[in-house]
């Protein structure tokens, strides 16, 4: 198997994730799109680790752990917004601008 097929799969997931974060207006859906990007990163890391040893796997584990923390915090902030505004439509937030 070629290294490239994994890298290209990751590239596709990354691009789809980017599309998602630009397009989705629901805060939770944006976070899901971010997960797509982070998973793309992990595929890259693990694929490379077949060449370079376990460093990539360690890195991937850290990414998974940090992603969990990020999602938790993100959902807390989204909940906070929801409580104050009764909406998770992040595109409606424009109190601060200019």
């Amino acid at each position: 198997m070629l290294l490239n097929q994994f890298l290209l799969l990751a590239a596709v997931l990354f691009s789809v994730g980017v599309y998602g974060v630009i397009v989705r207006r629901n805060g939770v859906l944006v976070l899901m799109s971010v997960e797509l990007i982070l998973n793309a990163v992990n595929i890259n890391l693990i694929a490379f680790s077949t060449f370079w040893g376990l460093g990539g796997q360690v890195f991937a584990l850290f990414v998974i752990a940090v992603a969990a923390a990020e999602v938790g915090v993100g959902l807390a902030i989204v909940l906070l917004i929801y409580r104050n505004r009764r909406s998770v439509d992040i595109d409606q937030l424009d109190e601060l601008k200019g």
Partner: protein, 504 residues
């Protein structure tokens, strides 16, 4: 020799030897975090009143191991080179700890009067500072990434700390989302770097990059670029700056000060680590990247700042422009690694002092006017002359008027750019010169309001300034002034030995 082999063999785990003293500052701040959490959970009735004092004490205590390590001298290399405590790391750690100390001073009354979650606030602050301390020593992709997250994630939450205020929520969400996107891009870049370099250690990657050479491998360009984009977000470089003004305006003002100073400094530290210890071997890529970022940041930041009516927002845009000035030495990083790194560190330290001071005054004034609009500073000199003079001095320093610190910061950047004699370096110097002239205008707008205009509603009764804020103003003022008059103090301590990775 035998023990070395034993360590290398897979099999029974051998614990790594740890230089506990080298980790002293981190351990103290970690202990502070634990103490704050414990104090809160055992719910002493009066615990909240002690929280700021405990936090302040903790940050001061963290200075002790830093001083001990500095006095001890010598570089300490831990974990096979992925964690290094050298003189530059110590200066930056001291900078972070002191900034945090001032931020606690700024927050004390703000939190107590606003009835926010105090103990958690300080715990998260300690968390974030711990991330910065780790950042200052990390020479490893994983370490840098994890430290960046540790310093960012608490900051996302602190930005939304005024829970009832929709603007604060919005600030938090914007900061969080943009931050997460930036981390994602950063990680993607790092994964590609790992693919090229074969290790997460910066020195190993740099050696590999030299070995591979610079021809025909576009993925190296892509990897370096995506990584730098991630950090460019953190230091709010244009075009990755859009979050900064909104977040600064909406976040609680002490948090804004923290973001604008400590968090930005940490972003620069991350850039220093990854550029000077790794990417420096590919000057052909980093020169144009930093040229674009620096020139755009200083120009766009200044131009938009001209039109601001809110002081905090103005400081945010001016901070973007200042970030451009700090990015400028990176343009010549591969030509003059030692001097350009020194210029960045000097700028960071002086910028921290003068900006924290400016925020301290803004917070103090807002206690009376409940506003950060420039108009609300009208007539400040007539009723709170001390604050007016202090803010004028901070603004003068930001403009770069000698003998206040800011001029030396700008001067050191200018001189490294011109000394390098690269076309891009000289071009950056010219753009920077023009921007220095533009910047005077918007800073002076505030000074003019304070000195020459009338108080907006004719109310000229002074309000008492709390002792902690006074302390913050005085401390920042002293540092700003001393570094301007005696810049030797800082140039001497930022003289480092040769870099681990030299130029090409």
């Amino acid at each position: 020799m035998l023990s070395l082999f034993a360590q290398l063999l897979p099999g029974p785990f051998t614990a790594p030897t740890i230089d506990w003293l080298a980790l002293g500052p981190e351990i103290v701040v970690l202990a502070l975090f634990v103490v704050l959490v414990l104090l809160d959970s055992i719910k002493l009735e009066r615990a909240t009143a002690f929280m700021p004092a405990v936090a302040n004490l903790g940050f001061i205590l963290a200075l002790i191991p830093i001083i001990v390590l500095a006095a001890d001298g010598g570089d300490r290399v831990l974990f096979g080179g992925s964690y290094v405590v050298d003189s530059m790391a110590l200066i930056l750690k001291a900078l972070f700890v002191l900034s945090a100390y001032v931020v606690v001073l700024l927050s004390t009354n703000y939190l107590a009067e606003g009835d926010y979650w105090e103990s958690e606030f300080y715990s998260l602050l300690a968390c974030s500072v711990l991330g910065m301390l780790v950042m200052a020593s990390s020479r490893d992709l994983v370490g840098i990434f994890v430290a960046l997250e540790l310093l960012s994630i608490p900051a996302y939450m602190l930005a939304g700390w005024r829970k009832g205020d929709v603007r604060s929520n919005e600030a938090g969400l914007k900061y969080y989302l943009m931050g997460v996107f930036a981390s994602a891009v950063l990680l993607y870049g790092m994964s590609l770097i790992y693919g090229v370099g074969g290790s997460t250690r910066l020195d190993v990657i740099a050696a590999r990059l030299v070995e591979v050479g610079s021809e025909g491998i576009p993925v190296i360009t892509l990897a370096i670029l995506l990584t730098l984009v991630g950090f460019a977000f953190k230091v709010s470089a244009v075009p990755f700056h859009v979050w900064a003004p909104d977040t600064y305006e909406g976040a609680p003002t002490p948090v804004t000060a923290f973001l604008a100073v400590a968090s930005k400094a940490a972003g620069f530290v991350a850039l220093i680590q990854i550029v000077f210890f790794c990417f420096i071997v590919r000057g052909d890529i980093i020169q144009p990247v930093f040229f674009v970022l620096a020139v755009l940041s200083m120009t766009v930041g200044n131009l938009i700042a001209l039109r601001q009516t809110n002081v905090v927002r103005m400081l945010a845009y001016s901070g973007i422009a200042q970030a451009g000035f700090m990015l400028a030495p990176f343009v010549v990083a591969d030509e003059l690694p030692v001097q350009s790194r020194q210029a960045v560190v000097i700028y960071l330290v002086i910028y921290a002092a003068m900006n924290l001071g400016a925020f301290a005054v803004v917070i103090a004034v807002a206690r009376k006017t409940r506003s950060a609009e420039i108009d609300s500073f009208g007539g400040l000199f007539t009723y709170m002359p001390g604050l007016a003079v202090a803010l004028t001095l901070f603004l003068a320093s930001l403009i770069g008027i000698p003998p206040l610190g800011g001029w030396y910061a700008k001067f050191s950047v200018f001189s490294v750019l011109i000394e390098a004699e690269t076309p891009l370096g000289l071009a950056t110097a010219i753009v920077m010169a023009i921007n220095t002239a533009i910047a005077a205008y918007y800073y002076l707008k505030v000074a003019k309001a304070m000195w020459f205009d009338d108080a907006p509603d004719g109310d000229v009764t002074p309000v008492p300034v709390p002792a902690s804020l006074n302390a913050a103003v005085v401390l920042s003022l002293v540092v700003t002034f001393v570094l301007g008059v005696l810049p030797g103090l800082i140039t001497n301590v930022t003289e480092y030995g040769p870099l681990a990775v030299g130029g090409p």
